[in-house]
């Protein structure tokens, strides 16, 4: 489909492993469909920040997507805990949230996220959006 961009894409590190931290079962299910079946990514979903921390070392995500509002550990707290792990200090993170006032977006970005995806999202377009975010990252942020 993107034949023209093939050489360029091959030079970059491909995004394959995404971790999604989201407490809502419905959203996890639709994100699985959106990112695995539609996007072809390898996805691990975690129902809580705690679960994400447990799964981190095994799965070694290249990109982490976090829901902001979750019971227990919320998204920002989870990200902070992830950052304490030396292997994941720089792993790009994206917040997903239903609140997208500009000042709030800046707040999330200042907490170390590379982007904010507003909820609700279109399941058919989510993979494209994530690929866009990935391709706009600095090369050194795109780890294997």
């Amino acid at each position: 489909m993107r034949m023209a961009g093939v050489t360029e894409m091959e030079m970059e590190t491909r995004l394959e492993r995404i971790m999604l931290v989201e407490d809502e079962e419905d959203i996890r299910a639709v994100a699985e469909l959106a990112l695995e079946a539609v996007g072809g990514f390898t996805l691990t979903t975690c129902a809580s920040g705690q679960k994400a921390l447990e799964a981190l070392a095994d799965f070694k995500p290249q990109l982490i997507v976090l829901d902001v509002m979750m019971p227990g550990m919320d998204g920002p707290t989870t990200l902070k805990a992830i950052r304490e792990h030396p292997d994941f200090i720089d792993t790009p993170a994206i917040f997903m949230t239903a609140k997208v006032q500009p000042e709030e977006v800046n707040g999330y970005l200042s907490q170390g996220a590379v982007a904010v995806i507003p909820k609700p999202f279109d399941p058919m377009a989510l993979s494209d959006k994530i690929r866009d975010i990935w391709s706009n990252l600095e090369p050194e942020q795109r780890s294997e």
């Binding site: 079946a37 539609v38 239903a98």
Partner: protein, 557 residues
Amino acid sequence: MSEENVSEIARKLEVLKLRFKEKAAKDISRLQQAAEQFRVGRFGPNDVVAAYHSLHRLAGSAGTFGYTVLGEEARALEVLLKPLAEINGELAPAQVQRVVDLAFVSRVASLVDSLSLDPVASQRTGAALLPVTVEAATDAVALVVHSDPEQAQNLVQGLELHGFFPVAVPSLKRAVEHGLADVSVLVVKDAKMLSEGSVLESVADTPPIVCVGAGDSFDERYALAECGVDGFLCEPVDVPLLADTMERLITEREESGSGRVMIVDDDPELLEHYGLVLEQGGLKVWRVNNPADILGALSEFRPDIVLMDVQMGTFRGPDLARLLRFEPEWLGLPIIYLSSENDREYQTDALAKGGDDFLVKPVSDAFLLRAVSVRCYRARQLDKLVSRDSLTGLLKHSVARSEINKEYVRCQRRGEQAVVAMLDLDHFKHVNDRYGHRTGDLVIKGLANLLRHQLRKSDVIGRYGGEEFVVALPNCSLIDASRVLQSVCEHMAGIGFQSDGQEFHVTLSVGIVPLQNYLTSDDAIDAADQALYRRKQAGRNGVTVGEEAPITERTQV
């Protein structure tokens, strides 16, 4: 992306939407009750925050499932409630009542109306989608119709673990509205079936129906049978048994009318006529006009039965049959002669040369179709008996091994990669000793059904021995295989099996290796077995990748 994948994704999305709708309806009704209480000043310490979170969730998710109006309205209500939710400390009733007034309550109540608006169909078409790299497993959608929401939820959760894609719907009418074309099976509370079963009369092709209920008298069961019910289980429902019943009904349904027939006739017009009659009856037909083509056609098409004219120019059917039997592969293939020969002597003589049956011409179209369908079904059953394990319906040891070898050869030829896995139930002897063999068998069937659902149609699944299974995943990377089988392990561990009112769980150990990295397919199977052994030593319940195989290797599809 193939059209099939697009429609598969669309179908799954529909199921998720439906599931969201059912859940949102419950959330809204709970919210409405809460709001009515708030309005009269009745609430506990966390009630307002809980309502706020519930609205926030709806605002964030409804749009994803196509309920944009609902999402926006929930968002507006969330904003109103937010200042209250952010107050630390006790709320005064008056504070809450200032926000949650009559107007607020009625706005909450009317959220449910926007739920009945049909979700906006996604404008995007398949062309806009990105390629799919991992073929989706074929989930069987099961609609659960139960009068008790809690029981319905239990069934949904239980069936999910068995690899079904269950959706709870409140009535049979709603099930019909949802459309039954993509539904593999209906699970219905017996009383619902008796009172609402008539709505199914308008549906041309209903999926198999399994009823659950307390009534186990002859009269009650007879009434259900009269309604066309295919299976019945007593409540409380033994979920593994239910899953097994559903599985059996789905397989039976898939196999009826799906026969493969090869017709050999030198008369092109008759050939075409028979072909059309059988195709219209739902059978797959391969036409052979020149008898000399028969061997090549057989290898390619692999029919259930062969329908053959007795006299075809210089060729005679019985001699052709005899020639086929030269190949051990076709020794078991049923050959049916179509002949105007009425002479019993001649018929017997022809059968002695390797035929199986006679259909005497002229035959009516209807008779031909029925006669051929029945023989296809029968041939398939027999074939299953030979190649399939009777308990699980999976491939037998020797057949699985030879299928894996075929896959190995394919990998070598095309430079593709595949994964072979050995699976073994943990501490299975304890299960048999403690709960008896009947229960043990149910556990084995449970895993077999789980594998059938979670893996793809193209995957090879075999029962290797007692509690040991072998799986080959064509066109699959180690990472993907590991993920899929890890998920099988998790599902398996989650299934609650029952024996004498006791619930117990059984876990699964798996060893995997890349099939193409070994000298022979048997070497690969042995290596997978060693990986399995290491998994057992490392604490069971999970997937271990064979050591020779670097995990970094990955498919670039």
